[in-house]
């Protein structure tokens, strides 16, 4: 980056330094999706909305691409700065600005770590519901961009169900407000449209979230099954009986082995599948529901049921689930994960097909997933030093996503499309569907400087090529949009 631009950037965020040395850029060359890498030209750490505005305006002045970044835990390459863009690292804007228990709201800055919010309100009996497995490090702003989920979304919904209002710096530097502290704001639901736009519609600088009362009681149940099929039908049986647990998670044998090796939770290594069920809510009736769940598991041939006796055992059971990805690291140097979603009833078939994919490509696949929502998380094990194996991993990943789509599902339940899966979008969406998404992005982000090269593929391309932002809008699209805007009835 040219020196005078660096100086201008430094003047905006002073006294914070601007990082630009090549070795400093290594940290920012990828996020949790490590198969694609692109070093930025500079990294800035704004502390205020005004500084974000100034950085964005500067980027516009010099036509430099930019991307906001939270903790970099994203799993689809959403925070990569393509074309040597500027990374706007939001971690310094990590304050809780307001907590309003009476109205069950909080206003926070985007760099706030997800778990820190729940921790801050815990003593008063509240929490913030979306709980991605990375909640100890991921930020609320990143969650807004990705519309993050977590194990408890089955009952409580994902980020979009808990965000009430946003302050956003648009890609041209204008500041706007969506939604608000009250509900049912008239007009189009731009809060809902913005959440999950993967950083391509602007940079969020303030978030109003809903806080929930902590459940009065929990009951955490672990059931072991001799086969994935039996476990899957037990899951369907529980839901079919009208019970919606707070969480309903599943692990296959490979994952069980990894977790048990890592944390010694006393899991039976001979079980082919494990289902973790957590009831939460009011204490009344919970014992009865737990007994019904145990009976349903028995009916589907479970080998054993364990009910957490106390908070310590509950924490241990959850530790196994939340750290499963890390534990898989014991099995191989690297793993690649997808998070395609299928209708819950297709789980047995999906897992059989994953097994076939494992055999076909000669790769081990461990499964740790949100069974209640049909949200798969196959972990394909590999060694990144083996370039031939890396190729097979990518092919297996594609085959997994194909399977999800074939079974009536979608490409991603919570990780987002980002750079990783954008070229698979045409499997689900027609050109006309994608055209509407293009146009919306064009409205928010007409210069395509804000996180370019993400979410939507170039037409006619089927596979990720070199990492560039070349799919900035084509002249044809620009023309269509200009035509669409011509003669528009714009009231001011």
């Amino acid at each position: 980056m040219e020196k005078h631009i660096l100086q201008e950037l430094a003047a905006i965020v002073a006294p914070m330094p601007v990082l630009a040395a090549p070795e400093e850029m290594l940290v920012y060359e990828c996020d949790g999706h490590t198969l694609d890498k692109a070093p930025p030209s500079a990294v800035v750490f704004p502390s205020t909305t005004e500084q974000v505005v100034a950085v964005v305006k500067l980027a516009n002045k010099y036509s430099l691409p930019f991307v906001a970044r939270g903790a970099g835990t994203g799993l689809s390459g959403g925070a990569l700065a393509l074309d040597n863009g500027i990374v706007i690292e939001m971690c310094r804007m990590n304050k809780i600005l307001e907590i309003d228990y009476v109205n069950q709201r909080a206003v926070v800055q985007p760099g706030l770590v997800n778990l820190h919010l729940s921790l801050a309100v815990a003593d008063a009996g509240y929490y913030y519901a979306p709980d991605p497995s990375s909640q100890g490090s991921c930020t609320i702003g990143g969650n807004v961009a990705e519309n993050s989920g977590g194990p408890h979304t089955l009952k409580y919904g994902v980020t979009t169900n808990h965000v009430l209002g946003l302050e956003v710096v648009l890609p041209d530097g204008a500041v706007v407000h969506f939604g608000g502290p009250t509900l049912d704001t008239p007009g189009y639901d731009l809060t809902g449209l913005f959440v999950g736009s993967e950083g391509t519609f602007g940079i969020v600088t303030k978030v109003t979230v809903r806080l929930l009362r902590k459940p009065q009681a929990w009951k955490t149940i672990l059931a072991f099954f001799p086969s994935v099929d039996a476990a899957s039908s037990a899951v369907s049986g529980i839901i079919g009986a009208g019970i919606i647990p707070g969480a309903l998670e599943m692990m296959d044998n490979l994952a069980i082995q990894a977790v048990e090796g890592a944390i010694q939770a006393g899991l039976p290594l001979d079980a082919d599948a494990l289902v973790l069920i957590e009831l939460d809510g009011i204490a009344d009736g919970m014992e009865e529901d737990a007994a019904r769940i145990a009976a349903i598991c028995q009916q589907h041939g479970c080998q054993g049921v364990r009910i957490a006796k106390d908070e310590a055992e509950r924490a241990l059971l959850w530790k196994g689930r939340k750290e499963a990805f890390g534990a898989v690291g014991r099995l191989s140097p690297n793993y690649y994960t997808h998070d395609g979603v299928i209708p819950r009833t297709r789980l047995p078939e999906a897992l059989r097909r994953l097994q076939q994919i494992s055999t076909t490509y000669g790769l081990r696949i461990a499964n740790v997933f949100h069974a209640g929502d049909g949200n798969l998380h196959p972990l394909v094990l590999y060694d990144e030093r083996d370039t031939e194996e890396v190729k097979r991993v990518l092919q297996a990943g594609e085959a997994i996503l194909r399977t999800c789509v074939d079974l009536g599902g979608v490409l991603s339940g919570e990780h987002g499309i980002g750079l990783e899966k954008k070229n698979c979008m045409p499997w689900l969406f027609t050109d006309d569907d994608l055209e509407i998404m293009y146009r919306l992005r064009q409205i928010f982000n007409p210069q395509q400087l804000c996180n370019p090269g993400k979410v939507i593929p170039l037409r006619g391309r089927c596979r990720c090529g070199a990492v560039t932002a070349e799919d900035t809008v084509t002249p044809a699209v620009q023309e269509a949009v200009a035509a669409a805007l011509e003669g528009a009835h714009v009231h001011t």
Binding site: D100, V102, Q104, G125, N147, G149, T160, V175, H177, F178, G180, T182, L183, D184, T185, P186, Y188, L190, G192, L193, V195, G196, S197, S236, G240, G242, D284, V341, I342, P343, R344, T345, D373, G408, G409, V410, L411, S412, G413, H415, I417, M425, L428, D432, D433, L434, I436, M437, R439, L440, R441, Q442, F444, V455, V481, A484, A488, H489, V490, H491
Partner: protein, 459 residues
Amino acid sequence: MSTLEGLATALESVVGSAHLLTNAAVVEYAIDGVLPTMVVLPADEGQIAEVLRLASEHQATVFPRGGGSHACMGQTPSRVDLVLSMQGLQRQLAYEPADLTMTVQAGMRVVELQRMLGDRGQFLALDPPVTATTTLGGVVATNVSGPRRLLYGTVRDVLLGVAVMTIDGKRTKAGGRVVKNVTGYDLNKLYIGSLGTLAIIVELTCKLHPLPPGELTLSIGCADEVALAPMLQTLLQLPLRLNSLELLNAAACETLATHADLSLVETKYMFIARVEGTPAVTQSQAQRLTEALRHLPLTRPASVHAWNAAEQERLWSTLGELTRGTSGPDAALDCMVVKVSLLTSALPAFCQDVQETAAHFDTPWLLIAHAGSGIAYVCIPVPNPEAPDVERLLASLQALEECVARCQGRRVVERAPVAVKQECQVWGPPSDDFALMCAIKASFDPQHRLNPGRFLGGL
């Protein structure tokens, strides 16, 4: 007009003469008294696409319509060329009970849908006030909601996927048929509550819920304003499976008692709470609730009454009718309905302010609030709907707006006589995000032919 005559002929060849109304029958489809030139009732998506292409050719304005139960929402249109009725698209397309998801055509009637799901022990967790003809597409387009939103949320919390027909007759979709999905931009949210101004919603996929094993409705009297805040907070913070919590003023209680044929005690305010669970669980919740209220330091103790199943049903359906602005035999009660959004904490002060303000007017104002969500419906009776006293109603509205402003809320006039609507911005003033909304509208409907002039700021 000659071009529209050409349109009628062309439309007739698409849908058949039985599905095109150009005569006196169009009167049933009038929007705020404005008669449509024609009404088309397509039978499938293909016909809708063709209708839209023909409408484009003839530069006709298009007004999508479900069952018409909420057609009073929005600003009065200046001219209605073509009403596009969705009544012909009522098919269920996919229903997998074990997945708790369902896909239907947008013209599916809500009442029928719930009956069908109820047979399988499930329901769609939306309970806006509906009529026999209200369609799911209409509910999504207007984003109407009901008391159960306290526990289950609104349309944005249950809609998984949507297919629309754009103004140029192209079918596009967003979302999917699974319960969790971040594949592409979340256009579902954009179509919800867009009042038919962006595209014609043709197909919807929704998340379903198991029917609760039982419900218990309790009414809780509240003798004075000072008790409102502590009672409200207590009710919201107790460990209950509370799916509804309504707050009514005395005028609303009285009307409810009459129209639902219930003997409600006379009280200044009344909370109506509904808990769910097995009979044993609802009973224990009722006890906990009664106990907690007894411990509040109130000057007059709160009276709690539990309603039986038949009474509950009358109570909730009448409450719904009241928030829609009509109730009683032959719609004997006709109200101007103003929906107010405010923070729950501001609700007690708002209630008091409304009481004092209403005292200056000759008819009592009904106030019915979804108390846990900060949504209040203020219903101002219109004594003679055929010849309303417009000045009086405008004065009432202005006085109410001042209450709303004092409580930092926002308001939407959901129902009012046309002459009143013509004198006010029914959606209130737009905010700093309005330029983006205009750009979105322009990209979907550049010629401004979909439900023109009816939505916020003329979107």
